[in-house]
Symmetry: D2
Subunit: 290 residues, 4 copies
């Protein structure tokens, strides 16, 4: 016999675009919403009895309806509203996880209704509402590509029989930041989400730029500390930073010196450094990372 | 002050291709290797002191060297050899995680050395070696796209105020299978990895094809049970199956009847169903899914 | 003042999936249809007057309707039917281009209605119907990944001041084939499209495998000749073959010899070789490649 | 017998990153270079004789060497220098095509050496040097995503038996711009490439925002005219604009009115409109688009 372990079901990547018209001035919210629900689901897994299932199509409809009925909420508030709705609306839904990615647009021209996508980076939020454990919210940024063209060294590492990398005292440090920061539970009702995002993002960039780095790990720790210093309601930061290697090209065969001027930007393989930085008084995460 | 939580560092997506020559008959192993290591890392995170760090470049070198020095191992054995090496070779490495994707090639022509990539699916393995917890191995398949063109229904789900989906008694069920199966710890030394993979894959396909499905959840459970029945050394199966929706096109405006013949294959949004199926006597997973 | 030059408009990537039921035995056609139309379009470009425009939404509807009304046609016949329809149905449409990609599925299990995607490669066709120039059809294959693990050399190339590549007499030759073959206009009404595709594909693979290669160009020419020999109705073949480099890894630092056993599969940069091979009596292509 | 038609060979996607240090102030050029060469190539295609071939590896080396030896050129000048070099350096190279994509970085922090990628859009240039036809240069922008949330209508199109789309007087117009503009041959020696790019890009955005649009075609023509007006050295503009459909969601089942507020952003299918706009005195393009 087999046992059913953890499971969840939902609708992923619902593309919700909302336009709010303030006279000729339009405001656009461009989001990608992924929802998943958990509860007692033995019947549907064992016999296909769907009576406890809220169809993923219904979840999609709810995301669109809330974009209208709840007005222009901040991303975190919208995700939270959906998560709370699912858990409170049906007895068979014990937990809801709502992840919302938000794409940024800059204004162009003078029409008030014209925009250009402002970068590759994406603002993201995960709200989890659980019958027993309550609410958790983490937010973050994805696909933010940054580079320091100097002030990065790498030396003093282990020299084992497979080590051939020479030490370096001047390299390019480039990465694509994926950062998630967890908010303290007691701060969730009073946060200014827009300000928290802008402050965390600015601290992240400032820490990346301002850290003279002897390893990507050191930069990660500095970023985590900076985000918590800038937004005290954050108690934990998780970062996953690929080291997008830039290798100095050997130009000697062509009679040219390459004094840290010309680099080959490699795709694969890449280093990948992942770390969690926590405030010393961080409460336990509960389900926040589930 | 900030605390350093869980962290790991490694080289990702090392593309190792090995050719073994048996006279004119060549055998190709085409792999993508991602390694990550954990241990006491406070120094590097806080001060950039790399003395406990095995450079990710060294990890890459090790993956290439082992492809030669250890001969043509099965994917699981190769991943295990790397994971064990890292943990035993350096005191600062307490845990190693090695993930290997393997791409399949079919023979073409009669040369013995000519091949064509045989599909979009990928065989995958994750071996984790930990100083305290020992060894765990999970294997699986990714990006296997399957379809049943009938024998799938969906009805009897919750009817809430946001529900508009009509029930159906005949739909296309299409999905892209991501499956991982965990092996019992006491079986790791004696397994025939090639046979285990082929048996699990065959059971997966047979269960998908043979299950008259009232919900994708039901199909997931059937697949999990079938894999454990086919490979008794497997004690747990985790599946993540997107529901790749195929919507019947309304041809009535053109005077045509559409009796389940012509469908629109949608990209986004998609349903996403994730479930774990465990043997009743499954040992605790330890770090296997870490 | 500005002049309007060549232009076209259409609906791209219409995902049409058709199921034909022969009792319990089902047959699936899985296609991606892109259409574009040309004609006298000054009014819409200069003033937004859409009276000559067949909405791209209408084009999409037509693709779905034809999948039902015209039955299970071969890909080339389906593309041709759509192209001819557009040009003959509206005076403002002088030319139609219909490109159809077809994805292959293999049967699994014994149900008759269960399938697995059978590879990364895609069958493709472009049918162009023009009021003045008539019909042209090219077909081909995309994303077919092939490899020879030996019988490939590369030496004797130009040695200029920027040349550092050493000659080699044994390398891996790997590529991702994009091939298009043009049919003779006088053969279009009587061709067995399924057989032509299978014969061309088999000849392509056989020529790739069977050519002892001193350069990828030589392999390209051999493939072109082989396709024309296998399918005499083909008068021209165009090939674009990236050289997916596999570099031998230097294992000497680890005390290991690498006698063409362990390779690094690189992503970028890659060689790219593009060539046209024509029958000596090939008629002029007209608009076929437009 | 078979004839060899048009052919070319080269190295694609060479990732060249250059850092110029002006004291503490660094300047980064981040480029992706693709080169291809043509000439009399019968020998290599028919027999694998590589004596007329400049190895693609050599082409790659040249791109890196020129990044050093030629200093920090504008993208167009760098592409031109490479194209001219190849044609003049070897008798077997009659034509060279050099395509360079350039990625933009914005400064962050106050270090002078810290940057963040500034968007998804890419500046691009194609320089073609031909022994007989001389030099041509086109430049442009790719993957620039723009949106007007109103001032777009679509009605008055053909009503055929497959037409179901209702007319609309207020829709979202969103697209991902691919634009290429051709420079007049007699202007190539004296152009300020940086200014030309900035002026063309600004004119493009202004025309997109400022055009009250009855069809995407109308917007395309306005953009083409605007670029030629802003940069008189441009004599032709080619645009390919997908219509990234945003469909109004029906909220009536949930008792909500949707007065152009909530949209579903669709992926596929999409409209695709391609058009050329030429100055009335545009010289013939020659090989510029080859």
């Amino acid at each position: 016999m087999a046992t059913l372990g953890f499971n969840r079901y939902g609708k992923a990547e619902v593309r919700v675009v909302s336009v709010r018209r303030d006279g000729a001035m339009h405001h656009v919210l461009d989001r990608n919403v992924s929802m998943s629900l958990s509860g007692e689901m033995d019947a549907v897994y064992r016999t296909g009895d769907n009576s406890a299932v809220l169809a993923t199509d219904t979840q999609k409809n709810t995301a669109y309806a809330f974009a209208k009925s709840h007005g222009p909420l901040e991303t975190e508030a919208y995700a939270r509203a959906l998560a709370e709705h699912f858990v409170t609306s049906q007895p068979t839904i014990a937990r809801a996880r709502v992840e919302v990615d938000e794409y940024g647009w800059d204004r162009i021209g003078s029409t008030g209704h014209s925009f250009v996508r402002n970068g590759s980076e994406t603002r993201t939020t995960i709200a989890i509402q659980d019958e027993a454990e309550g609410l958790s919210i983490v937010s973050g940024v994805k696909d933010m590509v940054v580079m320091n063209s100097t002030d990065s060294e790498f030396w003093g590492f282990i020299d084992d029989p497979y080590t051939t990398l020479p030490p370096t005292t001047d390299r390019i440090l480039a990465t694509q930041v994926s950062a998630l920061w967890r908010f303290r539970p007691d701060a969730l009702d009073s946060l200014d989400w827009a300000k928290a995002y802008l402050d965390a993002r600015a601290a992240l960039l400032e820490a990346f730029a301002g850290t003279y780095s002897y390893s990507l790990q050191q930069t990660i720790f500095a970023i985590g500390e900076a985000i918590m210093a800038a937004v005290p309601e954050v108690c934990e930061v998780r970062l996953a930073l690929p080291n997008k290697h830039h290798f100095l090209v050997d130009l000697a065969p062509f009679g040219l010196e390459n004094s840290n001027e010309v680099y080959f930007a490699a795709d694969r393989p890449y280093g990948l450094i992942e770390g969690e930085i926590l405030a010393d008084d961080a409460p336990a995460p509960g389900l926040a990372w589930g």
